[in-house]
Amino acid sequence: MIELTCIVCPKGCRLRVDENDGYKVTGNACPRGAAYGREEALDPKRVVTSTVRILFERDAESVDSVRPDLPAPLPLVSYFDPDLPHIEARLPVKTSVPIPKAKIADVMNAVHAVTVRGPYDIGDVIIKNVAETGADLIATRDLRVPDA
């Protein structure tokens, strides 16, 4: 018997899923809860989000105001600031689709092993088929490389 908390709605029903009885779900107040319980017991999946290390230095040009109608380079971009040597900027990433829960540690190992240089746009692939999950690790933010 697998015990789960349903997350379909705030009510949080205590679900019991019987793996010896065709993954029958009890304790659910609605059909959506039964579907959630079955899937969560059979093949639980999660989107993994984390950050990867950025490997470059830049001269942090200061921009005083951002005009969205002008080609302003900095907003919503990860960057490395050499004036703050202890700060290592990170590029946020996520798996492109939910991956099996059992593979989360493998994905995190791959995330920890990689350093990136960019440039990247949101959605660009950082690691293809990360940890053999079938999902790609993708950037969730732009990463611009300053002109040398």
Binding site: L4, T5, C6, I7, C9, P10, K11, G12, A29, R46, V47, V48, T49, S50, T51, R53, S62, V63, D64, S65, V66, R67, P68, D69, L74, P75, L76, V77, H86, I87, E88, A89, R90, P92, K94, K101, I104, M108, I122, T140, R141, D142
Partner: protein, 439 residues
């Protein structure tokens, strides 16, 4: 210096308000942002789950921020970053400071307050004990880990089960720390069920309900915390203490709307929300000053922040248009939304089960077809009914609910026609439990 509309804060609220005001014809819009980039707290919320309602997909915080900022592309909205607003006067003159302009003053036709909220700290909840390093709010830890790339500890105890704390429990675990427990004073969590499951249960982190921290030890760095069970009156029970060795204590014990600037403008605050008192169109008690997002009341979902901010953007645009036509001639405003004569209004009061409502009142006649009341309940309620009654005790609206929790903001939507018909009076919003109703 002058701008038609000044928005304080370029987080999700400020960005959405700016885009919406621009869509409604306002061109001279200045957004003042304290940080070195727009996006606000979303930039450090790298987890997913944002935007299901607005964008119909699950985005991470930075992705949501990018969408919100993209809405300003090809507009005349100016975002001034690295800019700290120091004060706002009741007649809408702001003083501010930044490295490029130094100190400056700027007047505004209208102002939208969108400063967000702050975390409660150790001082705010008065935990006794030593004062070593290693005690920080969950949001501060989130910034260190996700943006600056610094781990903040190895053995972690989390006090409070707010959503940021739950998210950080998972985040710290994924980055190699051991999270010993999530300690929650109340008999229920204030966080979303989804976060309890996916951040605590997924990683076997125990949730200790009805417990609190009663002592902190450590000379330089935190060495241990003492966890005690509490009774029904939330008082620690002697003899239930356990000591947990840890080097880090994360606090997720509530958020407070950030209203220091609102106070300088003379905006009246509601002690229940910690934010300005507003009418349905996000007007504060000071003419021409509007408020939206977490500065108004703490939201669970950024989608709701965006919706509220769009309302503020529309309201500010409407206010500016009315001001203009007011100044152009002697004609009174057709809908009574003038600034010198208060419009008729419906006030909403609450019963003991409801902590607060936003808005606190409606200006009549209402500008849109429908109007929403957002509110939170005080405790977990089952098999209950939301009841809105008029001054004579007649039921205006009733909505049955299976389950309500303080951790989830509730909403009822009302037809504007029905509210307009009620006229100036006080409505009462209650939540009635089944047993009470059967009496």
């Amino acid at each position: 210096m002058h701008a038609d509309l000044i928005i304080i804060g370029a987080g999700p609220a400020g960005l959405a308000a700016a885009a919406e005001a621009h869509r409604h014809g306002i061109r001279d819009i200045l957004v003042l942002e304290r940080d070195n980039e727009p996006g606000g707290i979303l930039n450090q919320c790298i987890h997913n789950g944002f935007g299901l309602h607005i964008y119909k997909e699950e985005l991470t915080g930075p992705e949501y921020a990018a969408r919100a900022f993209d809405e300003l592309r090809d507009t005349s909205v100016v975002v001034k970053q690295d800019t700290m607003v120091l004060s706002v006067s009741p007649d809408r003159v702001l003083s501010a400071i930044n490295p490029a302009d130094g100190y400056f003053e700027v007047s505004a036709g209208a102002i939208i307050l969108a400063m967000g909220c702050r975390e409660r700290t150790r001082g705010a909840i008065a935990i006794p004990g030593d004062r070593p390093s290693g005690i920080l709010t969950a949001g501060a830890a989130q910034r260190y880990v996700n943006i600056e790339g610094c781990m903040v500890g190895k053995r972690v105890v989390l006090l409070g089960s707010g959503d940021i704390g739950l998210i950080m429990a998972r985040r710290m675990t994924l980055e190699g720390a051991e999270v010993l427990a999530c300690v929650e004073l109340m008999p229920f969590s204030g966080g979303l069920t989804r976060n309890i499951v996916q951040c605590l249960q997924d990683y076997n982190i125990p949730l200790m309900l009805s417990h609190t921290i009663t002592d902190i030890r450590g000379k330089n760095r935190l060495q241990s915390v003492t966890v005690s069970k509490v009774d029904d009156d939330l008082r620690p029970i002697p003899g239930t203490e356990t000591e947990m060795e840890c080097d880090t204590l994360l606090l997720s014990v509530g958020l407070i709307p950030e209203n220091e600037l609102s106070k300088t403008a003379g905006v009246e605050l509601d002690p229940r929300t910690g934010g300005p008192r507003v009418t349905d169109d996000t007007r504060t008690t000071v003419p021409g000053i509007f408020a939206c997002g977490n500065v108004l009341h703490v939201h669970d979902l950024v989608d709701n922040v965006t919706l509220e901010a769009r309302k503020a953007g529309r309201a500010a645009a409407r206010f500016l248009r009315e001001e203009k036509s007011d100044n152009a001639g002697p004609a009174r405003l057709p809908n009574g939304h003038g600034r010198t004569h208060p419009a008729p209004s419906l006030t909403i009061q609450t019963d003991h089960n409801v902590i607060y409502t936003v808005p606190q009142s409606f200006r009549l006649p209402l500008p849109d077809k429908t109007a929403d009341i957002y509110f939170r309940v005080r405790s977990i309620l089952r098999e209950c009914e939301i009841v809105l009654t008029d001054a004579a005790g007649r039921i205006v609206r009733r909505v049955p609910k299976d389950y309500m929790t303080p951790g989830e903001m509730e909403k009822i939507t009302l037809s504007a026609d029905a509210l307009n018909e009620l006229g100036t009076q006080t409505l009462t919003l209650s939540v009635v439990e089944q047993e009470a109703r059967d009496d």
